[in-house]
């Protein structure tokens, strides 16, 4: 009886300290991330001025000089600033931002990140390569398609669609093996971005997975195809 009472006291003390340790760990974890976030925000603010310079049409050499990393670890922050703006812009400012990114070697940087252990980092690299319209990344992206998780496979296909080389189209159909029906619909709409050249591959995709394309999904795709053909005919 006395022994079991001692056991209860001992276990309560151990449990108490375990809970304290857990709270300390959570506290440290949260503080680390809050500090990291505020440091990144501060660094981002430094480079965000460069976006203003891009919109003010400053010469490319000056822009490249401005975006040169000033501290260790800044390259990822610069990339974030550039790609965030590229996502919302098109035309001349988009082309300028892309030029700056190419001159800074961001394509090679992201190609290296494709083999990172972190799923998150690989996703960012795939997205950046698509935004940078990097044709030299097509082979590397296709190579990792089979190994990636479903969500990263969609990011990879989105990047291939953004790069826009129709040679990648057969891999879209191949990458659909094992994807659930709602994702197949997304793949079909990504393929439409290639224009009329994608129609035959889309047909193959629909034939291979008819269950994923009921009439309510198929009709908007057919409408897009009809618009594509009309535009091609007008040209």
């Amino acid at each position: 009886m006395r022994l079991s009472l001692l056991m209860v006291i001992y276990m309560s003390i151990v449990f108490f300290w375990l809970v304290v340790a857990l709270f300390v760990y959570i506290g440290l974890f949260k503080s680390y991330h809050a500090l990291r976030r505020s440091y990144r925000d501060l660094r981002k603010a430094v480079y965000q001025e460069g976006i203003e310079k891009v919109l003010m049409e400053e010469p490319l050499e000056q822009l490249v000089e401005f975006f040169r990393p000033r501290r260790w670890g800044d390259l990822d922050i610069i990339q974030e600033v550039l790609t965030e703006s590229m996502r919302h812009l098109k035309g001349a400012p988009f082309d300028t931002l892309r030029e700056v990114a190419l001159k800074m070697g961001l394509i090679d940087h992201n190609l290296r990140r494709l083999s990172a252990r972190s799923h998150h980092e690989r996703g960012h690299a795939l997205e950046a390569l698509g935004l940078l319209r990097a044709p030299q990344a097509i082979v590397a992206i296709i190579d990792i398609l089979d190994e990636e998780t479903q969500d990263l496979r969609i990011v990879a296909l989105r990047s291939l669609a953004a790069i826009g080389d129709p040679a990648a189209l057969p891999y879209f159909v191949k990458a659909c093996d094992g994807l659930p029906a709602p994702l197949l619909m997304r793949v079909a709409s990504l393929m439409l971005e290639f224009g009329p050249i994608s129609h035959r591959s889309i047909q193959r995709l629909i034939n291979a997975h008819p269950e994923a394309f009921p009439p309510r999904i198929l009709i908007p795709i057919l409408k897009e195809i009809a618009l594509d053909l009309e535009e091609a005919r007008a040209r």
């Binding site: 976006i51 996502r87 919302h88 812009l89 098109k90 001349a92």
Partner: protein, 122 residues
Amino acid sequence: MGDEKKSVCIFEDNPTIQVLLKIFFQKRGYLPVITGDGVDAVSVVRRHGPSLIMLDIIMPGKDGVEACQELRAAGVTTPIVFLTSKAFADDKARGLAAGADAFLLKPFNPAELDATLRPFLG
């Protein structure tokens, strides 16, 4: 008093687009007033008396179409331009029916934005 800048009210929740639009309007001599949601659209517009209102469709609190309807119902006659992503292009008819004057898609080209807004900004 004569040096007072004309303002433009921007209702947009994406911080990157906020920065891009801020630079765009500053470059053209306007004072951008940026709000992250459409909840108090009517009072913000009444306070600043802008030359133009830019609205996003998908925003926290109140969507752009609702905000546009409220502005028109409150008697605001300032030109309203929607700037929204391609995925919500179907909302164009809804936006125009709510009283908007133009509808632009993201991603945007500043040169195209300039050409579209020129008739409203004079």
